[in-house]
């Protein structure tokens, strides 16, 4: 009889913890119980002081290019995130999302030599999400990989982010190419970046609570996109515009915070808005960035904006009101009909939105931490 280590108490726990941490930390698990111990384990780890070896971003930290396009192994968590509002040649709207996450299990400095691939190390785990929404249908796929063996990773310059055969690569002409394939659908998009990266918050440090915890966060807000979408064995040409986020931290949500509502909007006036709130029992923490068509972006403090849910799909609010009085913005954000749950290990809502009211426009909405699915 084979007698070995105990699978459930050994490996499975570790693997489960790993994935749970990464998923919950990133998405604050829609279907999970509301947080009691803070951000589904991650905050607990931080609270109990186990994160000493990880760096925590703070006010005064600055962005460094091109390094910040690459991974930050001393931080617990980070992601590369694209959302796009596209349309087919027939004018049919298409929503596209791609996100690649890195979740560190052990921290190490950038200078430290990574462990040998032959050891199948488990110092970091990677997760990639991809989704396509059109004609009322929402398709989602996810992938996982361990870091340091080459199956998944990121390089700052030229930019290359990959997990298996899904990858975002910088082309010789500076454009980015995003390729995603699943057995049922896929896309191959060319991203032409216009404008400089927009630093959110205090020159890149984006506070996530009144007590100062936060992340480093910048975006590319004006990306012209063209490419092909394959679905049901047919390939279609798509064009439109996108929004790209880079964000990293070691503690994203504070104990007691339940999830977030995030919006990235392209207004018809040519202005852009990023707005989010981190929900907790006693209200939440609001923040955002006003990016005028011309001129410098302006960080929006909590009191400068308000977000109100107006309608629900199940437990998830799919109709919102966003007000930024300073810029005469009073708009409704409406998700198209249907369910836009990314039904992965940690379900969350990810949908395109249309903008109406004081301004027209379009954009994307990500909602996490709601109990149950719509």
């Amino acid at each position: 009889m084979i007698k070995t280590q105990n699978w459930p108490t050994g490996f499975l726990q570790k693997a489960a913890t790993l994935v749970l941490l990464s998923g919950a930390a990133l998405l604050a698990g829609c279907s999970q119980e509301p947080d009691t111990g803070g951000f589904a384990g991650l905050a607990q780890a931080v609270d109990s002081g186990q994160s000493d070896s990880f760096l925590q971003p703070g006010p005064g930290d600055r962005l460094r290019f091109p390094d910040d396009w690459g991974p930050h192994p001393q931080h617990r968590i980070e992601w590369w995130y694209l959302t796009a509002n596209l349309q087919t040649a027939d004018g049919e709207p298409v929503g596209v999302q791609w996100t690649q996450f890195r979740q560190a299990i052990e921290s190490r400095t950038a200078a430290t030599t990574p462990p040998a691939a032959e050891q199948w190390p488990l110092q970091a785990a990677w997760m990639a999400h991809a989704a396509v929404s059109l004609e009322g249908e929402h398709r989602f796929a996810e992938k996982f990989a361990r870091g340091d063996i080459g199956q998944a990773g990121a390089v700052a310059s030229p930019l290359d982010v990959w997990l298996d055969d899904w990858r975002l690569t910088q082309q010789p002409d500076g454009a980015l190419r995003l390729q995603v394939n699943t057995p049922e659908w896929g896309y191959d998009l060319l991203l032409r970046i216009q404008g400089e990266p927009v630093a959110h918050g205090d020159q890149g440090f984006s506070a996530k609570s009144a007590s100062g915890e936060g992340s480093m966060y910048f975006s590319l807000v004006d990306i012209a996109i063209s490419g092909e979408l394959t679905r049901k064995g047919e390939t279609q040409t798509v064009t439109g515009r996108g929004w790209f986020d880079r964000e990293w931290s070691s503690q994203f949500l504070k104990t007691g915070q339940q999830g977030w509502d995030w919006f990235a909007l392209h207004l018809d006036s040519g202005d852009k808005v990023m707005a989010f709130q981190l929900r907790q029992q006693d209200g939440g923490f609001l923040s955002g960035t006003w990016i005028p068509q011309s001129g410098e972006p302006v960080a929006l403090p909590p009191e400068a904006l308000s977000l109100t849910p107006l309608g629900f799909s199940g437990a998830t609010p799919n109709l919102w009101r966003l007000q930024i009085p300073q810029y005469q913005v009073d708009i409704k954000l409406t998700a198209p009909a249907g369910s836009y749950i990314n039904n992965g290990l940690f379900p969350y809502w990810e949908s395109p939105v249309s903008v109406s009211g004081s301004h027209g426009g379009e954009g994307y909405m990500e909602l996490t931490g709601y109990r149950g699915s719509p």
Binding site: M1, I2, I149
Partner: protein, 811 residues
Amino acid sequence: MLLFPASQFSNLFSALFSHYRRHPLQLLALALMIMLATMLWTGVNHLTTQARASLGQSEQAVAARSQLERVDGQALTVADFVTLRRAGLCVMPWLEVESPGQGGRLVGVDPLAAGCFEQTGLDAVNESLEPSKKPEPAWTPMLNGEPFIDISEAAALAQNVASRNVSLSLLIVPPEPASALPADYRMTGFSLGPDTGELGDSFLLNLDALGFLVLLITALLLRSVYQLGMAQRRDSFALLQRFGVMPSAINRVLLVEILLLALLSVVPGVWLGRLLAGTVSGGFGQALDSLFDTPLYAGQSQSWLTPTATMMAIVLVVCLAQNVRALLLRTVAVWPLASLAKLLTGADAGTEFRQKPWPWLALLLAVAGLAMALLAQSLPLVFFAVALVFAATGIAAPFAIAALSATLARKTREPLARWRHTELGVMARRLALPLVALQFALAMVLAVQALVTVFEATFDEWLGQRLAADYFIEVPAGANADAAAQWLAAQPELAQSGDWHQVASGVAQLPATANDPTTANPKMDRKAQSVDLLAVGPVSPLLTMWSLQAANDQPWQGFAAGEGVMVNEQLARRYPLAVGDTLALTLANTRFELPVLAIYADYGRPAGEVLINLELLPDEFVPAFESFSISPGASDIALISDGLQRLWQVDSVRVRDNKRIRELADAVFDQTFLLTRAMTFVTLVLAAIALLIMGWVFFSIRAWYFRLLQVWGLTKRQVLAQLGQLALTLTLSITLLALPLGVWLTWVLVHRINPLAFGWSLPMAIYPGFWLQLGVVSVLIGLSITLLMRSQLGGSGPKPVSAASLRGDER
């Protein structure tokens, strides 16, 4: 539904139910029987489902999967894994580390990479499902075992182990199209052990047949108890009718009554059945030092609805059979069918039983059933034949006991013996249904025991034949197998104490068959031109231990000298071939005509196979697969694999440890068989309890009559002795009558159902030792009834009775 006012219904209900107020024991017995029958069927059904799941999982655990190998024969590395994943292939690493000092074999896997194994083909389904309703990943059961650890831990352990004890495999979900595979890699089978194939399917079919029998037995038990109660309430019904209550109104009230009773008894019965199944399987699980720390049988959670609804339906149909029969008789006017309808719905034991046609009908059904079972060429017909024979036995058994007792009563002069024989006849008639149920249960237990033992032995022999050698070494692509054979032959230690042979497999062409159209399977016909070829040599004890079904005088000597071939059971059956026949076969354009030296048992493998001496293979024959089977004896397998590695100049040699596979297969199959035995055990115990309750109730009803024996001058002890003899004769007779039925059922399962379903047959065996055990069980039931009667006899004196009662007539 109710065609009269509620108050009237309520009054009638109270009047009818007052019977049970006067006889609470009867109500308790009926409720208990429904509950026990439900418990029996739910328990058995639960165990069957779990045995099925268990076998399914064990098959999944040892079944073949696909893996990738490098075309250049080099060992796989993490770089290969990354290359393949980045090419979009679904590949999972499987790092095996053999570390004797640290607990044996460990398998390192990467759960993060396993996601695509579960996603394949499920994406569309998953899209539409709520997260909580998503199916469990198909891969999960494989990873629930103890030997699996994270691949990083396995890799760390591998650093302290010789490289020959570490092997990395890359499991793959075969890509669509196959051309998507990079040119540097090829796909081969990956297996933890042999595929049980049709042997497992056959076992499951038999489980289903036995599950059906259990349902039949529970129905009979219920019917018997209900009928007993109805017979006792006949006077009440007659009285109510005299007061002007329509029989249809009584029937409606009875329907409501049984519905309520069924509901109140079925639900706890289902609960008890599940509890019983859980206890039985849990107990076995603890006793079994399983390879997997997640019990195999724990994975199945069944709904409450199915067993509850099934048993409610059974209770209603069985208890209200009288009404069903009336309906059948109205619609079926033709006599034989009407008789069958009467038979199936249960005749009134008190009157119709004594009518002459019954023995003849039993005989007719038995002859028809036996003939049909022997000659039928389709499964439904064989199942129908089984039903006929069971029906015949069901009718004949109580009749036979009654007839025998009547004859004995006539012949004996001793008054007490005559009384006993007559009483036995009465009991056989009045307890006909529970007795038949016990007979069926005993027959089923007997058949299951024989079948499970036969299957177990066959699985064992089958594993033994395929895993005869301790180790199995694959010849890598491009390596010279003949050079390796020469090298092995030159190893003195191996030659002295070990055994080995070389195996090359491929395909041989046979001329068109002259099939027997009555037994031919069209699917096999098409394949008949091409059969599997297994070339082996030199002849080692690993081969000569094979079980031969037929052979000439010295088959292996002739085989070693290249004087002929051997064929497997299936090929011999299909072609047909006998020992001494000449077989013409073509191997790579070379035609051979060789005599058949022997036919070897192949334990359910459906493909035809020819075994030929390796030396006869023509040079141009290209084997599909080459390997060595090696039992190293005093030699060390590590030295042998090192030697072959050097000889073949490859990074690693794939060594399969057959002993470990055997342990794994044994463990999982043992568990399946234990569950099957648990199922039969539960059936027997509950059938025995049913008979005990029935016997007790029946003896209790006649207690006043037995007390007359004391009035006639017998002591209580003497009365008890008489009752003991009576009960023992009854239960032993039914056991004796169950034996032929059980043996016949085994024969049908093994020799008729199996060949018709799968085209091959298992050896049949009978186990008289087990018959003795069943005899002991029936004696215990008889003794228990006697003991229960002891308290009944101590009650009040005989009550006034009618003249008919004093004659011992049936009321």
